[in-house]
Amino acid sequence: MLTPGNEAELAEMVAAQDAPVRIAGGGTRLADTGPVLSTAGLRGIVTYEPGALTLVVQAGTPVAEVEAALAEEGQRLAFEPMDHRGLLGTEGAPTIGGVVAANVSGPRRVQVGACRDFLLGVRFVDGAGQVIRNGGRVMKNVTGYDLVKLMAGSWGTLGVLSEVALKVLPVPEAEATVQVAVPDAKSAVRVLSAALGSPFEVTGAAHDPAAGLALLRVEGFAASVDYRAGRLEALLDQFGTVSRADDSAALWRSLRDVAAFHDRPGDVWRISVKPGNAPDIAARAQAEALLFDWGGGLIWARVPEGTDLRARLGAFSGHATLVRGAPETRARLGMFQPEPAPLARIGAGLRARFDPRGVFNPGLMG
C-alpha cells in the first residue's frame, strides 16, 4: 500500500509507479485485489470561510471530519452524500475525495444539484505524476475548460485528487416530510411530479414501495416549512391519504443510504432515468426490492446475485450502474453502462491523455 503524506509525495509516487494501482480513500468501496494507493495521508481542512460559503480540504480527509467542522458553523454539504458502508457491508471512513471522485449525491440532488454542482476547484496528480489545478475557490468561474466537472465522477481514472474546494450551504432551521399513501409506482411518480412542479421547493422526493408511500421533504425557516408543508398537503390530497412523517431527518438519512437494502442478499443497481419512465423501467427490472429517489429519476434495485440487469432492461434512455455485486459479476457485467461509440471513444481518449501509462483503476470505466 502506498500512502503519500502530502501532494508532492503523491506526485513522486505516481511518477515512479509502473504497474496499475487501485486508488482508495477510506477504503469503503468494494475492493478488488492488487496494490493500493491510499489518500488517507492527505488529511485536513486547508481553508474554511463560512461567510463565503467555501471550504478547501485535502482529499483524504474523512467526510465525518468535514461535516463536523461545517456543523460548528451551522453549515453542511448540501448535496447530501450517502454513506455507502451499510449498503456495501464495508468498513473504513469515507473521505471527501472519494465522494467527489464518485460524484456521490443524495436525495437533495433533485433540488440543489449533485456533488459536481458544488465542486469549485480541484488539485490532482495525473498519470504522469504532474500536479494539475483547475477551477478555484470562488462560486463563479469560467476561466478555461471545466476539468472540475470532469474529475467529479471520474472514479480515479484520470488522476488522484489531492485537494478539493467545495461550496457549502447553511443548515436550514427546520424540515418536514409530507407522505402520501400510494398504490403503485405510477401513482407515486405522479405525486412526486406534482410536488416538484409546485413552487413549494421540495428538497427530497422519494417513493418507498415497501411502505406504499410517496415522500416529500421541505426545508427552511420554521414558519416557511410549516406553510409549504401545508400547501403540499392540500395539493396532494387528491392523490391519496396525506400525513406528516414523524422523524423527517432519520427518514431521509435512511433513504439516502438505501437502508432498506442493508443486510439483504443480492446485487444492488442504481438506474438513472427520466422520472416519468421510472415505473416502466422498474417493472422491467423484476427486482426483489425497489426504492425510488429524485422524483423517480433514480431507481435503486435489488436483484438476485449475478443478474444481468441491463439485459432485463433492454434499450432505454438513461443508464444502470452496478453498485453492489461479487467481483466475478462486476468483471462480467462492468460497473458502468456501456456508452455510445463516439462518447466511449472520447472517454478512452481522455484516459489515454491523462493517464498514458494506464496506472489508475484500469478497466473501471471502460
Binding site: 449533485a114 468561474n141 469560467v142 475548460y145 476539468l147 470532469l150 443548515v171 456508452e339
Partner: protein
Amino acid sequence: MDMPTPDPRVLARKDRLVRRLQAVLPSDAVIHDEAETRAYECDALTAYRCPPLCVVLPSRTEDVAAILRICHEEGVPVVPRGAGTSLAGGSLPTADSVILGVARMNEVLEVDYDNRFVRVQSGRTNLSVTGAVEEEGFFYAPDPSSQLACAIAGNIAMNSGGAHCLKYGVTTNNLLGVKLVLMDGTVTEIGGAHLDAGGLDLLGVICGSEGQLGVVTEATLRILPKPEGARPVLMGFDSTEVAGQCVSDIIKAGVLPVAIEFMDRLCIRACEEFAGAGYPDCEALLIVEVEGSEAEIDAQLGRILEIARTHDPVELRESGSEEESARIWLGRKSAFGAMGQINDYMCLDGTIPVSELPMVLRRIGELSKDYGLAVGNVFHAGDGNMHPLILFDANKPGDLEKCEAFGADILRLCVDAGGCLTGEHGVGIEKRDLMLHQYGAADLEAQMAVKDVFDPDWLLNPAKVFPLASSYRRRVVRMAAE
C-alpha cells in the same frame, strides 16, 4: 490583441469551399459576399473585427454535420456563433475561418412539465425558452442581462450566469443534455432527460468550452416552477466596505436570497441620470431579492433588514408593490446602457472571494487614479462576480490600450485575491493572454489535451482561450500537416 496570421492556403481555397457548402445547403444559407460577411465581423467586443471567409446558417443538425465534415476535409477553421453577444470575442472570426451560425435553429422540440425539462434547438434565445414554458408557470433559471438576444448555444459555450444564479446556479447547473456535432461530422448525444449523464461528465466539459470542442445543436434544459412571489429591498451605504461586510453577513446568516446586486457611486449616478430610478446618492447600493409566499418573503426580509441595520445604512427601501420592485431593478438593469451614455466602456468579469470585496474595490479605486480612467462597479455581489466597467474614449489614440492594461491589472488583482479571470463571460480572446497568470503551464496543457481528444486538428475556434504561444504548436502542426 494579436490574432494568428490567416492561412494563405485556406484563403486560396475559398471558392472551392463555398461551392462545396452550397452543394449541401439551401442557397440562402451560405453567405460569402464580402459586403454581407461584414455583419459577422465581430461580437459584442466590438474593438476587434475581422470578416470571415464565409458564413453558413444551417437549420438542422444534419446540415451542421455536413458543414463540419466539409470543413474538416478542407482543413478550414470553424467559429461557431449564436447571437454574437459575447463580451470576450468568443465568436470573433479570423479571415481564414467559416462562421457557423445557429441562429436559424430556434425551435422548441419538446416541453415536458411532468419531468420538468424543455428540449430546444440551440439557436433559440435565452428569454424565449422561458417564453415557451411560462404559461404553465415554469421558467428557465439562468438569466444573463443579454437574455433577450443571446442564444442558448452561446450560454452553453460560455456557461453564462445571471443575476439570479446565486440561488439557481449558472448554465452548467441547469443543463441536462446536448446534441453535439464533432468536428469530423459525428453526431452524438450527451445526457438527456435523466438527471445525471452516464460515464465521464462530458456534459460538464462541453459547458464552458467556448465552441472549441464541438457544435451544440440541441439542448435539454431543466425548467423550474415559478416562485409564488419575489420582492427586492434596496440598501444604501456610505462606504463600499460596509456594503461588502453586509453582503457577507447576510450570506452567513443562512438566508439565501436569489440575488444580491451591488453598485458603486459612479454607477448609481449614471443610472440615476439615465433611468431616474430614484436611487439615493451614496457610496454603495445593494439590491437584495428574496422569493416565496408573502409571509415567507416578510420573514426573510425581516432578517435581512435586521442585519442591514447593524451596518448603519443611509437608506433601506423595501418594495411595497410591483411598481416599486420594478423601479428598484430599473436602474440596475439599465446599468450597462447608462455607463455607455457616459463613454465607451470595457466590462470586466473577474470573480473574487466575497470576503475580499473591500480590499479589491479599494485597489481598483487606486488603479483608477494611476491610469486616469474612471471605473464604475456593478456586480453580482453574492457570489463575488465583479463587473468593473472601465470608461474610455475609443476615438482617443492610446485610450483603448490604456484601458486594456488597466483591465489586465484588475484581473490579475482578482486572481491574486484568490479569485479568477472570468466568472461568466468567458476567456475568448480578451483574457487569453492572462491565462498563465491564473494557471501554470501544466494546467493549461491538461485543458488543451481535452481539445486534442475532441478536435485533434484544432479546427474549432482555435485562436481562443489559450495564449497563442501555448497553443502554437498544436495549431501549426495542423497547418504543416496539410
